[in-house]
Amino acid sequence: MADITSEASERSSRQVWRTAIGAAVALAIILTAPFYLDTYMTNVLIRALFLGVLALTVDLVWGYAGILTFGQSAFFGIGAYACALVFTHWGFGPGWAIAALLIGVLVAALTAWLVGLLSFYHGASPLYSSIMTLALPIVLVQIIFAGGRFTGSSSGLSGFPTYYWSIDTWFIIAGVLLVLVASVAWLFVRSDYGRILVAIRENEDRCAYLGIPVSRIKTGLFVACGAVGAIAGFGYAAFTNVVAPELGGFLLGTESLIWVALGGRGTLIGPILGAIGIDVTSSYLSGSLPFLWKFIVGVAFVVVIIVLPNGFASLATSGWRRYRMRGVEAGDVRHGPGITLVSTSGRRADAVDPTVAPIRIDGLTCRYGSLTVLDGITVEGRAGQLLSIVGPNGAGKTTLMRCISNGTERTGGQVAVAGHEIGRNSPQKIVGLGVGRSFQNTSLFDSLTVGDCLRLARFRIDGARSFVRSGTVALPEPALEILKATGLDQQLGLESRYLSHGMKRGLELAMVLATEPRVLLLDEPTAGLTKPERTAIGHVLTRLVAEYGLCVFLIEHDLDFVREISDRIVVLHQGKLLLDGTVDEVVSSDLVKAVYAGQDLEAAS
């Protein structure tokens, strides 16, 4: 145990050191640059450096978390206007400067929080979230226009008192800010939280069903990026001594997206270089070929989106990858940094009250318009029991699982998990009550490794580190068993896109078990598996129930499989519960035979 933790902390401190060294090198470049750059270039670069910070925030929100945001510029503008307004109308001095900065940051954070509340709720479509980020700068600019003399309206404010330091000093300030923000961001995206962002981007729904508070994380990120954007805007305004509504507008917002797309979304360095490169080149060409340059950028943007979606940085990273793999044989697949599995006893073991049913469903009804999919389903699950739900197509089996795992789905009836009502809770909260659900399709997280996926599943219980990558994952025994049975424990560093279908099923099951559920809902877990894989999963499920006392609800069509491993079978037909009994009772029931033969209920009985 001591070895594992010391190895983990060694790796994370190595990470921090590497980042620190990178930052130091960058700082060295910043400090020496003014000596060999001419005044014009320095001037242009200072502005570009501040914009680079903006590009960084856009990359975090869009490149990493997948939220297409047109409005990061709004926060930039808020910071800029905070500077200009305070200095113009109230006062100037170190105290005022700090106050103005704080005002800018607070207003930006508050705005970001409000927008987050409105746009990132569970079930919001990505298009809607983008619209809200689009509306933000438009509304902001109009508010600025409406401010009349106070805000300078369309002409903006200029000539307000500011720190007239030398260009070299400003260069160092801007450079240090960028390096600082970039270093923190770099550590952040390489940490556990960084993996969570990627997971949210790739499969938000699945994250919710692992108990990850997606809305809260998105809003938190948005607020943080808004605050940082405001700081950059503040610096920009203080340096250039001019603010105009364009600084917070839609056009700057879309330009920032262009920088990130061309530079390479999700790489941090790419967007920074993209922003600096394009901004500097624009300044130089704005005199001679302004329209040709914009044309070139526009065409490059369109081409990159279609052909090279990960930007120019992807050319660099694939080159780097090929360089790193040069000694390795062909066919050897990518392995990420390894992690170690650790066993944990699980927190639920003691808290289980044997008299309370792990799950109790009472009169559950689900209606879509005039269509009644489930009608008054009442069933109780017991610990240490595997209950199979069978029935012809359209009987309502998957709907039943959906209504259990998502409090907003059902129309009527109660569902209580270990005595707690699920009410109208979202999936993420119900996972917290102890419900784990697996899905018919195996969409996991393509670019995350097996180890990352498992750590993701432990978020609700173990949390996540913000600036380092954990070297270990603590898993309960059932999950560890599955990993061993499928051989996944030897493949912890493999990206999940390379897993076979059977292994993906195994990983999914391990992830769900990692959340330490009381009740396990499995939707057709054997679909697409070969005969030996089915047998293996059957053994695993039987063990889970017998050894660990889980309560398992299983939807299956393979009736031989159902007969072998179930303790109880529940038959659904046209939304009603037809029969709830032992395997023998159900198999010998004439009613059930008739239902499966497709005959009408009345005719059969």
């Binding site: 809607y128 438009i138 040709l292 044309f295 989106i305």
Partner: protein, 278 residues
């Protein structure tokens, strides 16, 4: 009072005409075409070109539509089709395209603002007030457009195919409908409508390389609120356009400018599927 009523009616008509092209593209292709503003601009410049060459001003509208259709079909093939599986990226790509088109226009025509002659100028007497004649024509144009689109959708085989693709693309394909071609034709039609709309509104505004931009966001919001249905769009145009006019008149023109955006955001939060009965 009558002026206010006419303002609302004509503003709603303008909004309807401008947003119609965007809506059919969203309906059939599930895509927001961010080059829409650029197509509006192209339509405006088409008017400029046609009238400069000495042709009848009424020809500008069909000319703009024809140019728009060709441009739309080309754009769909080159830019939109490769991004079918990446809708958010498609939004970005069409935005980039809009920038490119704007720059091409600047190359050819320069940055200066042009003025386009309208086929009918001057004013007319209506409801005891004097009102811009062209604005009144627009009301008629909006009604005709609504009728024509409805006829296309409900009375032609293409319309039936398009509706089938909107409702269930896989089922449509299984019945022999080439959904790729339907989408290409729809994009062409949407672009044609956008250019025609640009041609229709230029007499009221000036023609410059960025004229389409303010209309882009408003039409975008309207289309989402409309629930992708022609009656829904008409309703949205009246309600939101009316709100914009009222706010501009009684509060401030600047706040009026964001009325549509704010109202639409609120409506969509409450009712994500918009104002249609669906």
């Amino acid at each position: 009072m009558a002026t206010l009523f006419l303002d609302i009616l004509t503003t709603a008509s303008m909004l309807f005409i401008v947003a119609a092209g965007l809506m059919i593209i969203l309906g059939v292709m599930k895509l927001i075409n961010f080059a829409h503003g650029a197509f509006l601009t192209v339509g405006g410049y088409a008017v400029h070109v046609v009238t400069d060459a000495g042709y009848n001003a009424w020809l500008t509208i069909p000319a703009a539509a024809a140019v728009g259709f060709l441009l739309g079909v080309v754009v769909e093939r080159l830019v939109v089709r490769p991004l079918y599986s990446r809708p958010l990226d498609a939004i970005l790509a069409t935005w980039g395209l809009g920038i490119v088109i704007a720059q091409v226009i600047v190359f050819i025509f320069g940055r200066e603002v042009q003025f386009a002659a309208s086929p009918i100028s001057g004013t007319a007497e209506l409801l005891a007030t004097t009102y811009s004649a062209w604005r009144l024509i627009l009301v008629g144009a909006a009604v005709i457009l609504g009728v024509l689109l409805t006829a296309l959708l409900y009375l032609t085989r293409f319309g039936l195919n398009a509706r089938a693709v909107i409702m269930n693309e896989d089922l449509a394909r299984g019945l022999g409908i080439d959904s790729v071609r339907v989408r290409a034709m729809t994009f062409g039609l949407g672009a044609a409508l956008a250019c025609a709309a640009g041609a229709l509104i230029t007499p009221l505004l000036s023609v410059d390389p960025n004229m389409g931009l303010p209309w882009l966001v408003n039409s975008f919001m309207l289309v989402l609120v409309s629930g992708v249905a022609i009656p829904g769009l008409a309703l949205a145009s009246l309600l939101l356009g009316g709100a914009q006019v009222l706010v501009s008149t009684f509060v401030s023109p600047i706040i009026g400018g964001i009325t549509i955006v704010v109202l639409a955001a609120v409506i969509l939060r409450i009712k994500p599927q918009g104002l249609s009965r669906g």
